[in-house]
C-alpha cells in the first residue's frame, strides 16, 4: 500500500464540496428532472470519489470491489422483488383502498 502515489486528497475534497454545492443549488431551479440528477446523480459521483480515493478501492484487491458491488446488487434485487407489492397502490386482483387520506387528516397523538 505504501508504494503507490497518493492522490491529492485536498483536490478531491474540493471537488466533493463543489458537487455538494451543486446538489444544494439544483432544486432551486425547480425542474424535477434537474433535481433528480443533481441530487442522486451527484450523490453517486460523490460516493464514487470517496470510495475510490479515500477508501482506496482503486488500489485494493479487486475482489473487495466485487464483494461490495454484490451487496448493492442484492439490495437492487430486494427492491425489485418487494416493490411490486409495497410501492404500488394496486396490482393484479388487489388494491389498497384510500384509507390514508383519512389517517392523514386525523390528528396524531
Amino acid at each position: 500500500m505504501s508504494e503507490h502515489a497518493h492522490p491529492n486528497y485536498f483536490k478531491i475534497w474540493a471537488w466533493l464540496l463543489v458537487l455538494l454545492s451543486i446538489s444544494v443549488a439544483g432544486p432551486m431551479l425547480e425542474i424535477p428532472v434537474v433535481t433528480l440528477i443533481t441530487a442522486f446523480g451527484i450523490a453517486i459521483v460523490k460516493a464514487y470519489l470517496v470510495a475510490r480515493n479515500f477508501m482506496h478501492l482503486n488500489v485494493e484487491k479487486k475482489y473487495v470491489v466485487y464483494l461490495l458491488t454484490t451487496m448493492v446488487v442484492f439490495m437492487l434485487l430486494f427492491f425489485a422483488g418487494a416493490a411490486p407489492d409495497v410501492m404500488n397502490q394496486e396490482g393484479d386482483q388487489w388494491y389498497k383502498p384510500k384509507v390514508e387520506a383519512e389517517a392523514a387528516a386525523t390528528p396524531h397523538h
Partner: protein, 189 residues
Amino acid sequence: MRPIATTRSASGTPTGRLAVWWVIASEIVIFGGLLASYIMFRLSHPEWAEYASHTNTWIGAFNTFVLLTSSLSAVLAHQAAEAGNGKKAAKLLYWTMLGGITFAVVKGFEWNMEISHGFTISSNGFWSFYYTAAGLHALHVIAGVVIMGIVAQTAKQNLELHRVELIGIYWHFVDLVWIFLFPLLYIAK
C-alpha cells in the same frame, strides 16, 4: 497475545482491513434494506414530498460539509500513519472526531427544533423514516468517534498504526451513507 493466525495473509489483504471490508459489506445491506424500504414508500406516497419540505436543507448541507471534511482529515491521518508519524496521525484523528462530534451536536439541535415544531417520529411515515435512518446513521457516527478515540490513543504512542487506516475506511463508509441520506431526506422535496 496475538495468535499467529492474525498475522497471516493468504488472501493478500491484511486481516484487519479484510475484516473491515466484511463489516462494511454487512452494513451495506443493513442500510440498503432500510433505504430500499424508504424509497418504495416515498415513490408510492406523493404527499411525503410535502412532509419533506419541512426539513432544513441548509443544516443537512452543513452536516454533509462537516462529514466530507472529517473524511479528508481521516484520510490524511492514514497517510501520516503510513509514513510512521503516529503523533500527526493521532492529531488528525482528533480533528476527525471533532467533525463527528460537530455532526452529532448539529443533529441534536436540528432534531430538537423539528420536534418542537411538532414533527416527531410518529407524525407520519416520512418523519418515521427520517428519524430512524438518520438515527441509525448517527449511532454509527458516535460509535466511530468512540473507536477513533481509542485508536488515536494508541497511535499517539506509535503503536498499532494500521488501525488508523481501518477506522478511516469505516469513517468513509459512514460518510458515504450520509452522502445518500442527504438527497433522500433533504433534497428530494
